[in-house]
Symmetry: C2
């Protein structure tokens, strides 16, 4: 019997599934629209059916657990709590609801923690005990590993570096405060920076022909690659403020590496080079030269499902 | 035989010693001037002699280890490295030098980590797994405990929250950068804030009669207790910037409590009340109401020696 784990990535739009083996190989995949299930009971029903479908006919596979990455998820309680981008309001006891239908281990955590777990079990952090993964998408998520363990904290919500305030009184954040790191250092933050620079700078730019609602970090990265001055400056300013958030994180836990994952990280060296340069200049003296800034060792497309499955594989380590 | 640990607190001026039992009781104490030993070999000789003196005649005591708190100390390597306030330059292999003279376990870490260990083993954090101790003295030191373990990080220098930059381009810091938390939120930071406010405000104040070099956080706290407007405002501004550093630390590790220790913490509710008020208003939504701001449960005078001894008692836990 080959042991497999179901990795589940719950997003605001899609929920993706994969059966993942001990080496991180995704053996089969599936997905459905999260928005088709406004009632959580129906969602859980569909989730269990989808996993059973993936397992059907695989007589030599044994399903040993379900790992789930979801927004606003709480590891300690196995819940999703007050997630603004999901239809289910209040506190959703996701792990318990699933276990009532299928009695195997279920682990739930937020998507960035799942990404960090994927990095540790299958990716670039296999031999590391202290590292941080930053997911640079719509927001900035973070998964923090210290002494080889994921940091969940007293509440189960630890690792919210996107809500470190970096510009007091700065940009409005979805959390109701101002100046949080994710309002600058994320795919959305880059778009906001371009919008600001379009007002500040007089340079001609193809970015002026795109409606603000259609502007994406990908289009900006493409413009930057062609040396568009507004895109280049936006990329550099984003890298600097990300670097600022990183030096303030390094004094906390002194990690061996920071992995950058997600849409904005796809910009590659246009982002990584100025982040590294900022760190060389501005890092705290005892930490200089001690931290690697690395791209994720997990593929962007399979990362979320692999990371979610890694949650279960991690709990079985050494057992 | 009663097992005892020698707790040693190395400061720029004095080195203090205590024999500490498993309950945290300080059985006997001693101290000498650190500055009398500009050569590290002589210092180590004096340290070992002092511990042997404390043990002499105590036939029913068994010395099972030496725990040391020191500035710029590295737990992983047992070293003191490039400490600006000590005479010994470069990297000092303190643990190894001591073990050559007395073959028992020696653990070295920085003074704030030792304070946190004291809090966990003997103080207010006995039942906590996730907490932070901030020592508010000449600088701001921090000891961070996550999942019941001290955070040393990849370098061994983790927990330098005093060097989180809170005001980009702000006050000059001893680390060579600008705007670090400790330049505002420490005993020295409070003095600097009063100096600034003396220039800004026109109120009469007894603080105007004290030469700047003689101004202390204690004198400012006394003036604030008598409602001196400059001292009160300085205390509030210090509390707010400390609160700002605290909310940015909470999103990282989601601690159950933050303990304030050291000279500035002696100001009591004049400091604690505005810190708590700032947190209520400005903390990240998922963390609101989840973090206690507490005074240390360890006496100010014996804290350093007890914390250093706790380093050894902690390593013996569960053995």
């Amino acid at each position: 019997m080959k042991k497999v784990v179901a990795g589940v990535d719950i997003g605001g739009t899609n929920t993706r599934f994969g059966l993942v083996d001990e080496k991180g190989k995704v053996l089969s995949e599936n997905s459905f629209n999260t928005t088709d299930y406004p009632k959580i009971e129906d969602f859980v029903g569909a989730l269990v059916v989808t996993i059973k479908k993936l397992m059907s006919g695989k007589k030599d596979y044994k399903l040993i657990g379900i790992g789930i990455g979801a927004p606003d998820a709480n590891y300690h309680r196995g819940t999703i709590e007050h997630a603004p981008n999901l239809a289910w309001k209040g506190i959703v006891p996701l792990a318990d609801l699933i276990k009532k239908k299928i009695n195997i281990p279920v682990v739930v955590t937020n998507d960035a923690n799942a990404a960090a777990m994927g990095e540790m079990i299958f990716g670039g952090a296999k031999k590391m005990k202290d590292f941080i993964v930053l997911t640079l998408g719509t927001g900035l998520g973070s998964g923090i590993v210290i002494n080889g363990e994921m940091v969940y904290g007293h509440t189960g919500f630890a690792g919210e570096l996107g809500h470190m305030i970096v510009v007091p009184g700065g940009r409005e954040c979805g959390c109701g405060r101002k100046g949080c790191l994710e309002t600058y250092a994320s795919a959305t933050g880059l778009v906001r920076t371009v919008q600001y620079l379009l007002s500040e700078m007089r340079d001609e730019s193809p970015l002026r022909d795109i409606p603000p609602s259609k502007l994406t970090s990908k289009k900006i990265a493409e413009a930057a690659a062609k040396k568009d001055p507004i895109a280049v400056r936006a990329m550099n300013e984003t890298a600097e403020i990300l670097g600022f958030g990183i030096i303030n994180s390094i004094v906390f836990s002194s990690p061996e590496a920071i992995f950058l994952f997600g849409g904005l990280a796809q910009a590659g060296e246009m982002l990584f080079a100025p982040v590294r340069k900022y760190l060389e200049k501005n890092n705290y003296v005892l930490m200089k030269g001690t931290v690697k800034i690395l791209p994720s060792g997990i593929s962007e497309s399979k990362g979320a499902v692999m990371g979610s499955a890694a949650l279960i594989w991690n709990e079985l380590k050494g057992k």
